[in-house]
Amino acid sequence: MKSNAVALPTQEMLINMGPQHPSTHGVLRVILRTDGEVVVNAKPDVGYLHRALEKIGERVTYAQYMPFTDRLDYLASMNCNAAWCWTVEKLAGIEVPERAEYIRVIVCELNRIASHLIAFGSFTADMGAFTPFLYAIRERERINDLFEDICGNRLTYNYVRIGGVSADLPDRFLEKTKEFLDYFEPKVPEYNKLISYNKIFVHRLANIAVATPEDAVAYGLTGPNLRGSGVPFDLRKNEPYSVYPKFDFDVCVGTGERGTLGDCFDRYMVRINEMKESVKILRQAIAQIPEGPVMAKVPRMFKPPVGEVYFRAENPRGETGFYLISDGTVNPYRLKIRAPSFVTMNIFEKITKGLMIADVVAVIGSFDIILPEIDR
């Protein structure tokens, strides 16, 4: 029955989603041009949290820059600290003691679990189920307690140093971590029962914002977003750094179990499975950690040799890359930070065409973007 009604002249609505909006994970502003509920065009507008971290990088010394890397991705600041240290050590060729590398891997994986918990919690809260967010925060508080024992701070740790870590593990730390892992391991299947395979949740995420493997690679998606599209690329496996080769864990890849490959559900499930993998790595790291010093000999006014280096580490949100140019003085000459969320936003406009407003929220949540990293 062809509807012969004259097409009603509908007017497109221009909505500002952000910068102050409950589910944009920070000060992201999306200029939504919608036809009723369906999004015609969603253009992200970033820059509200620009603190010129790269300009500061050219003014402070290498050791002084450490607290600024905390503020790069404050949900995974241990990973950013460690990435910055690995870059400088690669540039200057500093030999880091074995125990320090193990401690770095332990804190990085703990921080990955904490970051994925926040991603899981805030994503389900965006989809309307508020309770899993509280459970995720409760688990994260226990990780924060562990971090508070090591370095004294609960969010911006500033714990890793160039050449090692600032302080050795406090006593009983490894037991407490083991207790946490035993407590945390059964929680993940419980989340799956509670929300991951819930019919409404699956219906909201399956077949939404599908990123084909080619698009994912071309648009620079990395980390869980790339693996969500079925590309098994994990820096800890494909370009091993630090002591990661010593641990065996498998790379979690999206399988399109509840919809097409590369949809929001796959990206979400990759993060859930990655939490389990991190627990595996942590158990092995705790078992194999050797004794020994935790800090290499690095002069205080550290002057690296002249040169350029690019290093990237596997952060919970993707690849954090540091392109460091040093001219032999105490300050870096140029420091470019390749933030995963920033590059992920490239695909945002293309992927949200034709979705509904509620799905734009789902896309933001599934890419797990974070604004301080986008705006630097």
């Binding site: 600032s166 929300i195 019919k199 205080r300």
Partner: protein
């Protein structure tokens, strides 16, 4: 959409909802699960490495300004004056915990380990001025005046001794030619401030460091000139 899929949809919706509700029910019924800390009554005791507000023990502090230089946000301001016995006397030592980001770099770099983190975390205040911790309780100018007076006395005493000695030598050895060893006065005049004080702070004579008075946001004039890199 076949009837089977239709019915399966309904069944799956009911089943997954029921599974989810069983979990929330378990949490709902189980009183042991609540983990909230009733703040004013139950207090959170931080771990011993907790990086709370800073505390500088004035007696052991040698005012070497290492902490001033290492702080990325320049929230430590220090004024020291060289005393009569050539040791530095601390005129004023303020930390602006409103700007401090508790990164702990200063505590790490402090040679005499006088700067420490306390486990305090409760200092919400209405006026920004309260956020500046003053560790030298006496007024800076009084200290400077007192030290200046001491140095002047020491200089005067040294002067008097030298004059007396010179008179004896003149008496004992007659008109011996002067051997050009006319010693410079014991040390610089007290009023000249120690070079070591942070150059950026020279103009900040008054008590409260100017709020962002400098043009560059948070950028001190420039880190120590290349030559002076190592500790004085």
């Amino acid at each position: 959409m076949g009837l089977k899929a239709y019915l399966y949809d309904i069944w799956e919706a009911v089943a997954t909802t029921a599974k989810g509700m069983r979990i929330t029910a378990r949490y709902g019924v189980d009183p042991r699960e609540t983990i909230t800390l009733q703040y004013p009554e139950e207090r959170w005791e931080p771990s011993e490495r907790y990086r709370g507000f800073l505390y500088n023990d004035i007696k052991t502090c040698t005012s070497c300004t290492m902490c001033v230089r290492v702080c990325p946000v320049d929230c430590i301001s220090l004024e020291a004056v060289r005393g009569a016995d050539k040791k530095m006397v601390l005129a004023s030592y303020d930390i602006d915990i409103g700007r401090c980001m508790y990164c702990g770099l200063c505590v790490e770099v402090c040679p005499p380990k006088s700067l420490k983190h306390t486990s305090g975390y409760e200092k919400a205040s209405v006026d920004r001025g309260e956020l500046i911790l003053h560790f030298v309780h006496e007024d800076a100018n009084q200290i400077k005046a007192r030290v200046a007076k001491q140095v002047a006395e020491a200089a005067a005493k040294a002067e008097a001794e030298k004059a007396a000695k010179a008179v004896e030598e003149a008496k004992a050895s007659g008109p011996v030619p002067d051997d050009g060893r006319n010693e410079a006065p014991a040390d610089q005049p007290a009023s000249q401030q120690a070079a070591a004080a942070n150059p950026a702070k020279k103009d900040a004579a008054e008590k409260k460091p100017p709020e962002g008075a400098k043009g560059e946001p948070g950028k001190p004039e420039e880190p120590p000139k290349k030559g002076e890199g190592n500790t004085p």
